[in-house]
Amino acid sequence: MVKKRLIFTLLYNDGGFMLSRNFRLQRAGNIEWLKTNYDFKNIAFTIDELIILDVSRNERNIKRFCDHIKLIGEECFIPISAGGGITSPEHAKAILNSGADKLVVNSALYNKQDFIRELVSIYGSQCIIGSVDVKKQKNDFEIYIDNGSVKIELPLSEHIEHIISLGIGEIYINSMDKDGTGHGYMFDLLIKLNNITNVPIIIAGGAGNWHHLIDGLQHDIVDAVATANLFNFIGNGFPNARTQLLNSEINLAQWESKGFIELKNSLKRHVSS
């Protein structure tokens, strides 16, 4: 049986990596900071998948974003999904050629649907993640596109049904209310997703500690939990969270994370000995 997944989302904005709270961004550092000071590999070696989103509020520099995907991918041995403002086949191709395995699309699901169909036909459903940003409003949810800046007038269930019919392979649903709060996931959302059985669901927004990750993964409908908060799981936060999840009998993949140190350059020693 396919395992459940723990996902980390990196938010990229104009050469920097960001903290987000209710979609307001604060810069944490650049790629050097991420690799050296922040020691990102500690996280990369304990998660099942990585998502990198270009949430640049100004004009996006695609080449520079792709260079960042490559730099992160050099020492990251898990599937990588990337996206943010993908609007052309060339943009999609540049991302995949930089080492990403899947594409994340959001606004185009609403305003460029033929383009989404085209991506599905070129790369297959398994390559396309449909991302949906929502805000709670009374008993329903409002959908926002363009980095949470534009509200669209569609009921959530209708939008979800529609994007599945476009052929996307996974849904990444992010609560803007919970984003960056560390108060736990927005579980009211799951009621709206209850009848989706054939497309994996990733929930995002609000995870502050490992209890929240367990709360998410314990729902049958949830295939993966994501967190984009750079500081809620700092240091050994992720390795510890993973251990707690495995101890709680969450069906996660297992590997020896200490092995990374032994494996690095191990063939060099083999050749020289």
Partner: protein, 205 residues
């Protein structure tokens, strides 16, 4: 030299990064002379079987791959679609013959048997190895790897070692027939489990 075959299909960058992490160098090429004199060949691939075989024919790589592996005895590792291409044939996008390096058929998952299961089969899943294997040296008998595919190598009993995964039905997730190896999963995307397997392929063959 470790050669990663470039025939225009798939994620070559990640495989090269994983090999570099292990401390070895590799070359990405479609040059027939370099392939035929390689120490090891890695055949990657993502996408449609039919199109991939077409690319291998138009770049004139079918013959050099078969000769290097069958007569030259160069160890080869096929990954994902690259593994499927080593089989006899596939029905993806219409019937097409493969490289014929192993006696296996590729077909879509049997949807009836996989009722209630999602296709494509995506994510980490557990592989059980049937025989002692150089490729799986140092790994547990049951080990998790990352998969993403809709077609699979049909399970039939084989005289050589195979890794079996179960998705509604058993299918061949890995094989090791002397120096001819394949993995349906992505070792370059499977954390230390995959890195160790890649290291085994480079060190033990």
């Amino acid at each position: 030299m470790i050669v990663i075959v470039d025939y225009g299909m798939g994620n070559l960058f990640s495989i090269q990064s994983a090999i570099r992490y292990l401390g070895a160098e590799s070359i990405i090429t479609s040059d027939r002379n370099i392939i035929s004199t390689a120490d090891r060949i890695i055949l990657p691939g993502v996408g449609s079987f039919y199109r991939a075989m077409e690319h291998l024919h138009t770049t004139d790589l079918v013959k050099v791959l078969r000769e290097s592996v069958i007569y030259g005895k160069i160890p080869i590792l096929g990954i994902c679609l690259g593994m499927q291409l080593m089989g006899l044939s596939s029905t993806e996008d219409g019937f097409r013959e493969g490289l014929g390096l192993v006696d296996c058929l590729i077909e879509r998952f049997d949807v009836q048997k996989s009722e209630g299961l999602k296709i494509p089969h995506v994510g980490f899943d557990t592989v059980t190895m049937t025989h002692k294997s150089r490729l799986f040296d140092g790994l547990d008998a049951q080990v998790d790897f990352y998969f993403t595919h809709s077609y699979r190598m049909k399970y039939t009993e084989q005289p050589y070692g195979v890794g079996i995964c179960f998705h509604g039905e058993p299918f061949i997730a890995a094989f090791e027939k002397e120096h001819i190896c394949g993995t349906q999963f992505h070792p370059e995307k499977s954390q230390t489990n995959g890195l160790l397997l890649l290291k085994n392929f480079i060190k033990n063959f």
